[in-house]
Amino acid sequence: MAPTSERERQPLDFPSAALPLLHDAQLRGNVRHATDVIQGKRFRVVAEMPDWQSLREAGRQVRAHTLDYLDVYLEQFEQRCTAAGGHVHWARDTAEANRIVLQLAQNPTGRVIKIKSMTTEETGLNHALEAAGIQPIETDLAELIVQLGHDKPSHIVAPALHKNRHQVRELFVRAMNLPDLGDRPEDLAEAARVYLRQQFLSTPVAISGANFLIAETGGVCIVESEGNGRMCLTLPQKLISFAGIDKIIPRFSDLEVMLQLLPRSATGERMNPYNSVWTGVHPGDGPQEFHVVLLDNRRTEVLRDPEARETLQCIRCGACQNACPVYRQTGGHAYGSVYAGPIGAILTPQLALMERGQSLPYASTLCGACYEVCPVKINIPEILIHLRGRVVTGRPSYLRALHPEAMMMRGMQWMFLSETRFRLAQRFGRIAQRPWIRRSGWIERLPSILGGWTRTRDLRPLPQQSFREWFQARPSASTGSHSTLPPQVSSEPPEVPHG
């Protein structure tokens, strides 16, 4: 397994990371297919819900309310979970969280079984376990594929969607020593079933994430498809559940909202195959030792920002990734972080206190597709713009003043403030653009920093006469003569030069 945390310490730059991926036709094909399929299914099962918008609004309000009273609900959760026989641990950062788990995970087999958890990816837990001599075994099929391939997850819900069946077969043939394995998805799932069953029955410690922590009961809810989650939650003697402090919901009955929003948004199913809810320790049923690790890792900093705190409403469905025209081109790896796509573009820089991932708020066309599909109505485009602002204001003041974009904007401001300067600038522009106009009548390439604009699109030249010039030159109606249209504009309204 690659050392996640070390790789992530390197500075990220979305465009540079995305470029090689855009040339990987296999990867793009896989990502396109997967996101198309999930989007199509999601669209169908959402369309059949007449009350979908009311559910979204209730979901948003439940999550926003929880954040407003987060301290109250966390304390309530801790109290109820402890009363039911569980142990609650608090971790300020990833190192503290991993340290707690390492102490709890020690066992004679030297192995732990794991359910897919984005939060343990965030803390680099697998790496920490390996460094301490404990082998983590991922039991979700996609996570197993990622782990065997020494790869990184590329999607919240379907972490291996960048791999196709042939690539998966190759991995399994090598790792499970099955030279005759077929490459039908059925064969591959069967191989995983046999391979993992032994691990489920012989490993005494399991580590899971959590979809929802229920404050009212101290219970935990996990939503899954394959049954590997149920295996991990039921068979071992000890269970450690790892959750961000944002995963709380106030009451058991709030599941009636979340369990409608999440499966339809995440996988396009009316309900996912298995949902488990348990509360502390149940004598004679399941693990007899249960721990919850509550992770902050700068979530409280996100909470402090009035414009961006709704980021924490996220229930990790991944719908925004499937809908995002940028993600659909690049896949998840370009984001260089655990959380990819639109939610990653807003969550990653905030969790890293804007130190990392400064290019991520720009990895968006601001088209709003993510907001439209978000089951808890997180206004991702607004937060992206807000974070772009924070990227700019976060620059040292001398850099801010001398940044080419800032200087250009100041120049524009000065120009627009006076009509004389504006007219002069138009006249200057008409002359200055001449060498760049191609025979086609379009500007295809501009010099220096303006070239960014024309790298992917052609530009209309400034017209020889502006609307104002035409309007003033037009013979007035009182003279009785006919007005004449400017020669190059014909019947269309004259183009106004762009500022």
């Binding site: 009350d51 609004e57 009273y69 971790a91 106030p250 009955s253 009316r270 809810v277 902050d296």
Partner: protein
Amino acid sequence: MAEARVPDVPATDPLSARSEILARIRSANRASISDARTLSAEEAWQRIPRNYRDAGLLTESDRIELFTERLREYGAGVSSSQPAQVADTIAEILRKRNKQTMLLSSGVDPNWLPQDGVRFVADNELSYAEMEACDGVLTGCTVAIAVTGTLALCHESIRGRRALTLLPDYHLCVVEAATIVETVPEGMRALEPHRTQPITLISGPSATADIEMTRIQGVHGPRVLDVVIVV
């Protein structure tokens, strides 16, 4: 065998982590919520508008039909039976599936059990290996949700632990028509009294779409699910 090699992270006081996180939350919320928290959490929660559908509209027979259709879409087998014929229906299904040894959750009505052809094994602290060795498991169901084709098992009310419906490769579930509700909110309301018990919601046999988004039935849980609806 791994000996503990705990990395060099400075030891921290767990109590201070708790109080520090709670203090951070309180200070963050004071700084970023424009209107101060004047209501209690309880009052504020009560005021959350819930304009979604929280009650069904279908008649009982339409509800059963919808539930049946949804289960079939998941690839589950569905039969219906009159109360007096449940044992015969179960015998018929198990014969077709060629199941000889079935685990039993103790909440199952003894009148549902066929008299011969199948051996039923009660869960008297069976080992996981013994559970796996059985051909399948027969259970009841606490609540069923028609719109999503969901079987909700509260393990104390069906009187069977969670591993029962997990380790065998086959699950036969008997659902009484009176326990079928239409919508998810109705289902969760019916589960409310059991909310601190272990609860498993099952919607079709286990499945994955992790390889090329192709739905494959049966990864780790029972690969085959049959449902008998008692009407």
